[in-house]
Symmetry: C2
Subunit: 355 residues, 2 copies
Amino acid sequence: MTENRPPDARPAAPPRPGMKEVADRAGVAISSVSRVLSGHRDVSAVMRNRVLDAVAALGYEPDILAQSMRTGETMTIGFIVSDISNPLISEIALGAETVLRESGYGMIVVNSMNESHIELEHISLMNRRRADGLLLSLASETNPTLPSTLERLHVPVVLVDRHMKGLEANHMVHSDHRAGMNEALDRLYSLGHRSIALINGSLAVRPSRERANALRRFAKAHPDLQTSVRSGEFTGTYGYAVAHELLQEPSPPTALIAGSNQILVGVLRALRDLALRVPDDVSLIACDDSPLAEFMSPALDTIKRDPKRLGGEAASVLLALLRGESPDPVTLPTYFEQRASSASPPTTQKEALLR
Amino acid sequence: MTENRPPDARPAAPPRPGMKEVADRAGVAISSVSRVLSGHRDVSAVMRNRVLDAVAALGYEPDILAQSMRTGETMTIGFIVSDISNPLISEIALGAETVLRESGYGMIVVNSMNESHIELEHISLMNRRRADGLLLSLASETNPTLPSTLERLHVPVVLVDRHMKGLEANHMVHSDHRAGMNEALDRLYSLGHRSIALINGSLAVRPSRERANALRRFAKAHPDLQTSVRSGEFTGTYGYAVAHELLQEPSPPTALIAGSNQILVGVLRALRDLALRVPDDVSLIACDDSPLAEFMSPALDTIKRDPKRLGGEAASVLLALLRGESPDPVTLPTYFEQRASSASPPTTQKEALLR
DNA sequence: TTGAAAGCGGTACCAT
DNA sequence: ATGGTACCGCTTTCAA
């Protein structure tokens, strides 16, 4: 107010105040300010008030960078995902962030665009940002550079529904994809399906492998069942191409399982192009739910997991690791939600003749 | 390999190497290491090689915190969103991140869970993290604390499809929601609809207000048109409640516009509960696309915007601001995509009699 | 109970 | 062309 201010100096906002400014204003030492703010005991009430007043007056907010610099902790977790715009992933991220926030951690999400080299770049970047820990939803578990990169890291890492040889089991949070697949397969088989195709995502990640395995096992246990697994990539384009091809084979599968949200979109497009009806002409089962899946006609049968929980559990495990504990390995359930997109297969003989 | 290693010393990983270690190993001064790494000129080839070798050998990675501390720049942008699990938002985030990354910026996304006080907390937190700039998709533009909070900030802020009085126009990126709404309304009107209801999100944010305005204007220009705008919140629950109520009125609207993804889900649920068919009994138009919307039966007519672009433009504007430029205000288009969920209204008289 | 000063890991200025 | 050093904003001994 009564401050001396030359006409054209400091014309704009005052610079961000630091502890120094607070200390000066309160007429105390910098270290005292720090003590008050860190809630240290052995500070007189007078001191506390003087400092707090100055803080309020200046609108002072401690610099987290400087704090991190000193303490060595950034209270930041990095989460590397393939594509945040995938609703499955964004829910996982939300679940993780929620849990981390409760413990005072912030989360930085970065997208690898499903490219391993970007992923590695991001890992390095998070390392340079001194993230206290990493959550990884890898684009590919088979990247040869990865294991050594992770070892070089000086912070704990938790894989989200991914597997990696050599990594301790309690550094990975898994879903039991087989369970859901088996339920779905039981359903299809009992409906009379004897030819089932899985249009699968990339085998470089665990969920796809587990689903493929589940189908193979099921086939082994049911010798009269024809199965085909077409693993490729998590894209609509891929889903379209494979569905289109499979459904035009001489004796096409009577049931399709789409290995991801993105693949599902491609499959639906192919179905539409071929004017095939679900479930009359072919049964369809999706992996992972979408907001509108239950409102489709027919409502889509879905193999579900709880993505928010998956993210939350991964975060919890990471927090435990951060505390130096050795948490138990986590495996989360998946299950089949029957809606209306699977039904008995068309009587193939007849159908074929009619065409 | 041939290293001397006492039995129980350094049993685990060596500590993160710093510039000091690099300098020692290369037998040069710390400042020289810095110069080499910052690509400074005036460094001899010998020096460069010595340093680079040491860096490689040690796997040294510069500490971004320390850099930021000195330079004052964190190369980090904070993005505060209501809910990253909303596909619209996550696409916006992806668009923004992509653009920022190209300029070397990282992005921290945090969720406000649609609560203003969490939003404020996050703004403060980003400030303390010394984010170089902020992207805001506010839960509510009417939070009274907000303007002063933003003024206190010493970094540029860009609002994403939000408006705020007193903020310069080029600090906001807007969508032209009226355009898309008008196209949709033209369509409905020409189909013969004379009673249209907008189940709208919260008026505390611009998109909802613009849509409401568009509908009101349209009504004013078409005196024979009955309209109702029910603004509330962006949730399925709200969408369900309002749709359920509206559709049971004595003379219910013949066309519904759902003001968001979440609202849409509620509306669909209500429609299902009431056993109403789209578009035979009622026409339905969605705001903002969903991956499965085009595969619904009927495929959903949708008022679209390009969320990736929206995020990208917001990021570009922020980058310009960061460079000290004064970018032009941005307004992005929206448009109506006709699919199959709107049709002529049922002949109301007859229908009413038949019931 | 409070103050002074070292140091976290870099950058950049000033000498040499 | 290279080395020495102050400093960024804070925490944390150590003394007083």
